[in-house]
Amino acid sequence: MSGGQEALREPWDSLRRQREAASFGTWLFLGSEALLFGGLMMAFAVNRVLHGDAFAAAGHETNVVYGTVNTLVLLTSSLTMAVGAEAARAELRKLALVGLSLTLVFALAFLIIKGFEWRDDFRQHLFPGPNFKLQESAARIFFAFYWVMTGLHGLHVTGGIAVIGWITWQAWTGQRALRSPAFEAVALYWHLVDIVWVFLYPLLYLGGRA
């Protein structure tokens, strides 16, 4: 098992234990992330209760087409990520690389679509500022949340692209053994990014259209 020995690091005695720890550590980190986005959604919820009408009106202004397409893109990327990580664990090099690369493509696609959406939002004066489109003052709060939430999520996607790109490159060049726990850890993180979006999508795009 040369692959196993390469992947083993200090202070671990066995790869199984190391893998468990990597996944456990990632779960802890995800718990932390959940509180980050949970806090943000809680703040959103409080304001939605305070300003129901304004939030409904503002929610109507978001671009549901971009939002829906992006939801599909991101869900698919989670699938390819799962395939990539499982293939890596089973040491199926080709499949792993395909899965990881597809994930990268979808992740980039998500950001590009998001970029177009942001550009449209800007042009429609949906960024809270002097020429803001909507009259209701609390609509600005909705869009403040919109920009913060999508921005923070976009940062997480960018971070995801960086680490996925990094481990994909390492796997490609053979610097990282396929049995390294990193693949599973990164996959867990990527699923979280996906799940967060699954919450943001209804809050931002569907809430105003119910």
């Binding site: 200090e10 202070p11 234990r17 468990e20 720890a21 456990f24 550590g25 802890l28 980190f29 718990g31 932390s32 992330e33 509180l35 980050l36 806090g39 943000l40 809680m42 703040a43 409080v46 304001n47 305070l50 300003h51 304004a54 960024f127 809270p128 500022g129 003052s137 609390a138 600005r140 709060i141 869009f143 403040a144 949340f145 920009w147 913060v148 921005g151 923070l152």
Partner: protein
């Protein structure tokens, strides 16, 4: 039993700075700058943290000195009004996030956690190093904010002052705190994973030393509370940088929402600061009483109780904020509930002394001082948990005194106690005991002089964060400032003789205090890989005497280390 005890190390026969099999200590194993700044050895990273924390302790301390000097008279003498506001913000921000939160976990925790559970290192050694660099990056950003012009929001960053009115470097400071939060989270994740995955064979959960339990509880709180702080500071940055009006009352935003989110982190942060000291004090009290910790399981449950309920009491910072009356009452109730585990711990420490064989080495003096100061700090917490009294004393010096009793009288005393206790293990040197005892006593009295008068003036109505004040409060400020001089001496003195000991101090034995933790069954200082052979564990912690007996009248009992060779 006796044959296991016989296998334990015989004091004095170990080479002081070399492992039994000739392995060099972690200090001498590798040389060069890279061997320090790129190390993944938890012990070296602990020292890197210690160095960085010392710098921040001085920066925060300088802020305290400026504040206490300014308050010597009722008028403004030294600083402008803005200068004073920047000074107490500096003091609070630096001391909370760049000293107290990381103090015990990142120094003693980093150093001792793997040793105490019999591991070679933390679960993720490179993450550990990364967290130090995050800390340094955050520190650099904060220093930039302070040098560029300072921050004047107070460490609490209350909106809408921090978002719409402050003209200072709020964004840089907020981002520095966000970064240092990531560093905390990385350490927390690392500690939890280490305790779960790397305990030595036989080291079951209820055989863990209390310091490990305390660090474990602290880490849980860090991992779950810190992200909310990150979030709320990012929202402030979003509002300042991009004009996103999340908390802006002009558009219907709610400044109280900010306070709720802020205290959802910042109250648990109090427990992040004090729980590790509980662990340290438990280790010290049991060792110098030669007695098993009284009520070990209760101590463990008290730690967990505090860690969990600590998340549910944040609203007691907001009794006068305008939150609803019923919210006040619920938070008051929960705040009284959380007083119980702290009381349990105080009584258990006290009863650990009962029928012990007590010596008064410096670490023990610090620990006894801690118990006294923490008890007073905790009891004054009952006043603050009562809504009608809190309404009167909140945002006055009463609160200032209360939390300094907990964080300075408590956490910093425990930090110094731990420093004296593990100094021989960390450096391999003994410090001059007489000086150390003197410093410990000085710290206790200096502290009381500084902060006790603040209770009285706070109750009389002296508001906090005031540069100028009515003359009737001057007597208390003068007392407080004079005490601060003593306190400053008590903090500086150990730095002198501890530095002295590095060169001229006696070589430390493997187990100079005859303590039982696994960290004492390796050389002082330990080798790179911590142990000669990885230890196995058959007993609970604190085997200072057989279960059915107690210590004798004199001479330390033939204590038994928790681990054995494999």
């Amino acid at each position: 039993m006796s044959d296991i005890a016989a296998e334990g190390p015989i004091p004095g026969d170990a080479q002081p700075h070399q492992g039994l099999r000739g392995a060099p200590s972690y200090l001498t194993a590798e040389h060069g700058l890279a061997a320090w700044f790129l190390t993944t050895d938890h012990k070296r990273i602990a020292l890197l943290y210690a160095a960085a924390l010392t710098v921040f302790f001085f920066i925060g301390g300088a802020g305290a000195v400026a504040i206490r000097m300014e308050l010597f008279t009722p008028q403004a003498d030294l600083l402008s009004a803005d200068g004073y506001n920047r000074m107490f913000t500096l003091h609070g921000t630096v001391m909370v996030w760049f000293f107290l939160v990381p103090s015990i976990p990142n120094t003693f925790g980093n150093f001792l956690l793997p040793l105490m559970i019999g591991a070679r290192d933390l679960a993720f050694p490179r993450l550990n190093l990364f967290s130090w660099y995050l800390f340094i990056g955050a520190g650099a950003l904060l220093v930039y904010a302070l040098v560029a012009g300072g921050v004047d929001t107070g460490w609490t960053f209350y909106t809408p002052f921090s978002t719409a009115y402050s003209q200072s470097y709020v964004m840089a400071a907020a981002l520095a705190v966000v970064l240092v939060g990531f560093s905390s989270i990385a350490t927390g994740v690392n500690f939890i994973a280490t305790v779960h995955m790397l305990r030595a064979p036989g080291m079951t959960w209820f055989r863990l030393p209390l310091l490990v339990w305390a660090l474990y509880g602290t880490s849980l709180v860090i991992v779950l509370a810190t992200p909310v702080l990150t979030l709320v500071l990012l929202l402030i940055v979003a509002e300042r940088a991009f004009g996103l009006p999340i908390f802006d009352p002009a558009y219907g935003g709610d400044p109280l929402l900010f306070q709720h989110l802020f205290w959802f982190y910042s109250h648990p942060a109090v427990y992040i600061m004090i729980l590790p000291s509980f662990g340290v004090v438990s280790e010290l009290v049991t060792c110098f009483s030669r007695r098993q910790v009284f009520g070990y399981t209760f101590m463990v449950y008290a730690i967990l109780w505090i860690a969990v309920v600590g998340f549910l009491v944040w609203g007691h910072h907001m009794f006068v904020s305008g939150q609803s009356l019923y919210a006040n009452i619920v938070f008051s109730f929960l705040s009284f509930i959380i007083a119980v585990p702290s009381a349990i711990k105080v009584f258990n420490w006290t009863f650990t002394l009962y029928r012990g064989q007590i010596t008064f080495d410096a670490p023990m003096l610090y620990a006894l001082g801690f118990i006294g100061l923490f008890t007073l700090g905790g009891l004054t917490g009952l006043f603050l948990a009562s809504v009608p009294i809190d309404v009167h004393v909140t945002d006055t010096y009463f609160v200032v005194a209360h939390f300094h009793f907990i964080m300075v009288g408590g956490a910093v005393s425990a930090f110094y106690g731990g420093l004296h206790f593990w100094w021989p293990k960390i450096t391999g040197r003994m410090y001059p005991d007489v000086w150390a005892r003197f410093a410990a006593v000085l710290m206790f009295f200096g502290f009381c002089f500084t902060f006790f008068p603040q209770f009285i003036m706070g109750f009389l109505g002296m508001p906090r964060r005031y540069q100028v004040y009515p003359p009737e409060f001057q007597i208390w400020h003068v007392l407080s400032s004079s005490g601060a001089v003593l306190l400053a001496c008590a903090y500086l003195l150990p730095m002198g003789y501890l530095a002295w000991s590095l060169i001229w101090g006696d070589r430390a034995e493997e187990d100079p205090w005859k303590a039982t933790g696994l960290e004492w069954r390796t050389s002082s200082p330990p080798p790179r890989d911590n142990f000669r052979t990885m230890p196995a564990v058959d007993t609970g912690p604190y085997f200072y005497h057989p279960d059915k007996e107690g210590p004798r009248h004199d001479e330390p009992e033939a204590h038994q280390n928790q681990g054995r060779e494999t």
